[in-house]
Subunit: 331 residues, 2 copies
Amino acid sequence: MNASSDRPVIAVDAMGGDHGPAVVVPGAVAALTPDSPFGLALYGDADAVGAELAKLGTERLPVSVVPCTQDIDMGESPAAAIRGRPDSPIVKALTDHKAGRAAAVVSAGSTGAQVAASLIVLGRLPGVDRPAIATVIPTAEGRLLLLDAGANTQCKPEHLVCFARMGAVYARELFGVAEPAVGLLNIGGEARKGNELSVAAHELLRGAGLNFKGNVEGNEFLLGPADVVVTDGFTGNNTLKLVEGIARFLVALSRRPDLADHERAAFRPVLGYLQREFSYEVAGGAMLLGVAGVSIIAHGRSSARAITNAVKVAWEQVDADLPAKVAAALA
Amino acid sequence: MNASSDRPVIAVDAMGGDHGPAVVVPGAVAALTPDSPFGLALYGDADAVGAELAKLGTERLPVSVVPCTQDIDMGESPAAAIRGRPDSPIVKALTDHKAGRAAAVVSAGSTGAQVAASLIVLGRLPGVDRPAIATVIPTAEGRLLLLDAGANTQCKPEHLVCFARMGAVYARELFGVAEPAVGLLNIGGEARKGNELSVAAHELLRGAGLNFKGNVEGNEFLLGPADVVVTDGFTGNNTLKLVEGIARFLVALSRRPDLADHERAAFRPVLGYLQREFSYEVAGGAMLLGVAGVSIIAHGRSSARAITNAVKVAWEQVDADLPAKVAAALA
């Protein structure tokens, strides 16, 4: 255990997710090698986390435990829960990130608590009124960044412009696209189509100095019509969940009694391919863009592999100095 | 040509859709037999429609042509276009429906024009503030009715309650479900989740005397979580288009160069199954629920088979006396 060396440390909420330390600890540790450019700090119950670490060979790896004595209780209002639980893993990890003792935070715990705690503890970047959840969606052509995927259920047109600017920085820095194409998720191709929000946002996006490609419709969304697709958090979260549901739908179909034998047999490799290339495990996590730090939101159902990828995603953002670049673009 | 017999007549806009009379005329006529309980009236350019009819053997079928001399130009505002084009197929067909000379209208033309013309010519049923586009979505378990699929991009909570009442009547009469389960499309399971509209609508739906099952999330939507799923027209249209896009996504995937040979081969029967069971052609059309009549909205890309099914759907609704039953439920 030598996370006290000079390398940056990624703080991981070891208690989060449906499976807790038994999955998070081995998943996070699998992202490390003895000469990793970053170390890990695992936040949680010292006994539970220590027991999982003891099962792994971590002597030469840069990993430490930060004991926490509290839990977040989401029965309370998020703000009250967070202010009353300074020694819970998510609040303590974010506090250490704010103080410079950690370079990023990863959690598979409650998304609502993580968003609220990130806003309260890290604060917003200058120029950001509403941080957004951004999530990488694999498409038939590659990938796109969808935002807001659920942080803000009510948005104003100018919020969507801010989402577009932040998403464009992400796509430039992490997808390596020089001038990312930005699309507005909408229900028609013409500028006047949509609801009040999307019509007004379309107009603002046209004048925002971005590489704005216009409206993107649901039936082309998974073909990869743009590098960045913006919408309000209600529409974005519904869209993300519909996309996540495709695999469940195909699994259910593959069990229908009306299938011919050759059709039933064919579903297996198709589902295997989707699982391999399009699972949430590959993307590794969503992130909260617009806060003063790196806050990675892993899926509540995360497998060890998904946690591994979420830690790698956190490091990529730290390595790219993403929050500073988002701040510079919004200044 | 004996549509002047006693049987009810379904009015078809023969000029609508991407392919016009060449597809609509044979598609509609294929819904007929010499002893059909209904006849067809084909509205459109007499020469163009007559030429298509002449290619078919229609001597013993109850089909007639209603010549129209105008077109709808959607460059204008819909209301102006409709009021200025009384002899366009959609306006003339709806006018004849209103006057009792036709029992229903089917069009694959502009959805916006059909919705506007239906509202203007047929009017609303008593108790209906906002008619909604309802569309049948095939699910892994069966089917559900989604509304509003695009007529009202801005909704109030009480509109969603009206959509639920209308949808429940449809599901009872045409799905044959005694007490249809109603769900609210939302981004979380709990009552307090969602945007302002969905939180308020959840509360109203709980007290509406319906078989309300609570919130339905996108990742379970295609599994068939309820018989009727209600949402605003923006969310509903985006949802419908995302579902329509699944097939396009899978087709694009099946062409990716990274596929193994056995994976590529497997896509074909899976896509064939989806095409056979889940195509819009099977459902045959959306409908405008809440107007004083039967107005069936066929897909703009409709094939002849889709038009055939849309005509059959129209007849089912006429035969079930659906508008009167919706009106009774809302009285």
